[in-house]
């Protein structure tokens, strides 16, 4: 069925189609639409789930973890400050190996107080052990949440699906809504291998010494790394059901490219328009969308742009004292090719500054020629800074 929906509505639709059993959440702009609409459909009985209107994000994540340990398919959603408040439980959920799926709406961290798009909130949680996926449009939101449950429940790891504030959360656009019957075939009910069960008691969250600790973490590292391939396999299976592919890495016009723009989120759609415009001028340029940031899809990324000589990373985030976080990741991913590959990093499009063709093209020109209005800060060039 074709419909017009906001990204937040697409998320709610996916949760309904996934037959989620427990929702626990606390509202925060711009995520609020999701928790309100979930409360509505659960209240009306359209989704048979337990809804927990908790007092904080920390509790939202804690109760999702508990419900997931009891074998329920669980969901929560948050944004910026709320995600930061969950931080302790993000580590816990990943370590507990429970397949919670969460939507995070990428909004700037305060201060200064700002509601608009910035990826620093989720990227600063990248070491918690959560799988991180960044959506490009409303269709991607709906589909990737369904893929996320299948991946999470197979890998026994939690997945964070990220939506750009307003550019995706509050933008209405057409999408295809899959039918429940086919979704049920793709995503059967969750069957927990080990769960909290009074009739079959087990020990969870053990205290552990040097004998086991390193081995447990090593196992998790291997399982997390394997998700890069697992996601693409599950996405391929999703594609067979619904004829839409959502891979970890999406390259655009990179086959013969010398230059490549890299980013995450909705701006990667606009980057393609910039590539088309610059191709008309004869520039051999392509673009690449990193849909997945954790695990970092290093092998696929390297293969996708093996012949590129100059990479331009545009970050809507920063690691203070270092540089754009995606730029850091890309540099680490191409460490083998240092010397032959130039990487220029920009910080742009934050705090409500739109990322348009007209803002992307000057950054590309500055990366090539060195001339432009973006100003240096360490290894990054910052756009939209007052003189």
């Amino acid at each position: 069925m074709k419909a017009v929906m906001m990204g937040t509505e697409a998320a709610t639709m996916a949760v309904k189609l996934a037959r989620v059993q427990v929702v626990s959440a606390y509202p925060i702009t711009p995520q609020t639409v999701i928790v309100e609409s979930l409360a509505d459909i659960i209240g009306r009985g359209e989704l048979k789930a337990k809804y927990l209107p908790v007092e904080s994000e920390h509790t939202a994540m804690s109760s999702c973890m508990g419900a997931s340990m009891a074998g329920a398919r669980t969901f929560t959603a948050t944004s910026s400050q709320g995600l930061a408040y969950m931080h302790e439980m993000l580590h816990f959920t990943a370590g507990e190996r429970v397949p919670v799926v969460m939507v995070n709406c990428n909004r700037a961290m305060a201060p200064p107080w700002n509601l608009y798009c910035d990826h620093t909130d989720s990227l600063s949680q990248r070491d918690t052990g959560w799988i991180q996926y960044y959506c490009v449009d409303a269709q991607d939101v709906l589909d990737s949440i369904l893929i996320a449950y299948a991946v999470a429940e197979q890998a026994l790891l939690p997945v964070m699906i990220n939506l750009d504030a307003f550019y995706l959360t509050h933008t209405s656009e057409p999408l295809d809504v899959p039918d429940q019957e086919t979704v049920d075939l793709f995503l059967p009910p969750y069957r927990a291998l080990n769960k909290l069960d009074v009739d079959d008691p087990k020990t969870f969250s053990i205290v552990c010494g040097a004998d086991l600790f390193s081995s447990i973490k090593y196992k998790r590292q291997g399982d997390t790394l394997a998700v890069a391939r697992l996601w693409d396999q599950v996405a391929e299976r999703y594609n067979r059901h619904f004829n839409r592919l959502h891979p970890t890495v999406e390259a655009y016009r990179t086959e013969d490219a010398d230059l490549c723009i890299i980013g995450i989120g909705t701006a990667t759609g606009t980057m393609r328009l910039a590539v088309d415009r610059l191709r008309e001028e004869g520039l051999k340029i392509g673009s690449l969308r990193l849909a997945m940031i954790r695990p970092f899809p290093r092998e696929v990324l390297q293969r996708a742009i093996a012949k590129v000589k100059h990479v331009i990373v545009i970050d809507r985030d920063v690691s203070f004292g270092a540089e754009g976080i995606v730029a850091q990741e890309v540099k680490a991913g191409f460490f083998d090719r240092r010397g032959e590959l130039r990487i220029t990093g920009f910080v742009a499009g934050v705090g409500g500054n739109d990322m348009t063709v007209d803002t992307i093209i000057p950054m590309v020109r500055q990366a090539i020629s060195g001339d432009g209005t973006a100003v240096e800060a360490g290894m990054s060039l910052w756009a939209e800074v007052l003189p």
Partner: protein, 194 residues
């Protein structure tokens, strides 16, 4: 790509109007996008909302720089906001105003039309005298002068796009369709803008 910009005040329904309009065009087979200029705005503050229309999927997001259509839900905004900012030279400007009002906010090259949406809304019991609900009314007027939006598609989109009083909203939009008047330039638009 055609860009449409709404100007209204928080609580007037500009955002809902943008969604209804996008949905109506979607029914006509176009790719659409509706987007609010959302922020810390509160009831009564100046807000805007946007609609993009195209025959191909839309990858651009955020503000529409050069709208081809500007729809103003509140006449008093003209004193506060430059509603024609960066509008295309031949843009269509639709105002919610009385027919005898002194509306001269815009350059000659624009095609300017008006509709007394407050009167029509109150005749249909939409909102109160101090806070009339005119968002669907003004869309009815827009359908008449757009040159490419079928009234039937708009009415269907209104029926699913408003939470209450569907019948009154649809009836009011239809009345507005016939009540729109020219302020400057032709009422009828060129077709095939996309």
């Amino acid at each position: 790509m055609v860009g449409i910009r709404f100007h209204g005040r928080g609580g007037q329904g500009a955002v809902v109007a943008s969604k209804i309009l996008a949905h109506a065009y979607f029914k006509q087979g176009l790719y659409v996008q509706a987007f609010p200029s959302f922020g810390m705005e509160r009831k009564g503050a100046a807000v805007s909302a946007f609609v993009r229309l195209d025959s191909a999927p839309i990858a651009e997001r955020g503000d529409i720089k050069n709208p081809a259509v500007v729809i103003v839900l509140d006449f008093t905004l003209l004193r506060k906001v430059d509603v024609t900012r960066c509008a295309k030279p031949d843009a269509l400007i639709l105002l919610n105003c009385r027919e005898n009002e002194n509306h001269n906010p815009v350059k000659d090259s624009f095609r300017v039309a008006g509709v007394d949406a407050v009167k029509i809304a109150l005749q249909h019991g939409l909102g109160s005298k101090s806070a009339p609900i005119i968002n669907t009314v003004i869309l009815g007027a827009y359908a008449r002068i757009s040159g490419d939006l079928e009234l039937a598609n708009l009415l269907e989109a209104i029926a699913t796009g408003v939470p209450v009083n569907q019948k009154q909203n649809m009836a009011a939009a239809e009345v507005a369709y016939h009540a729109v008047f020219s302020i400057s330039g032709e009422l009828n638009a060129d077709k095939n803008r996309h």
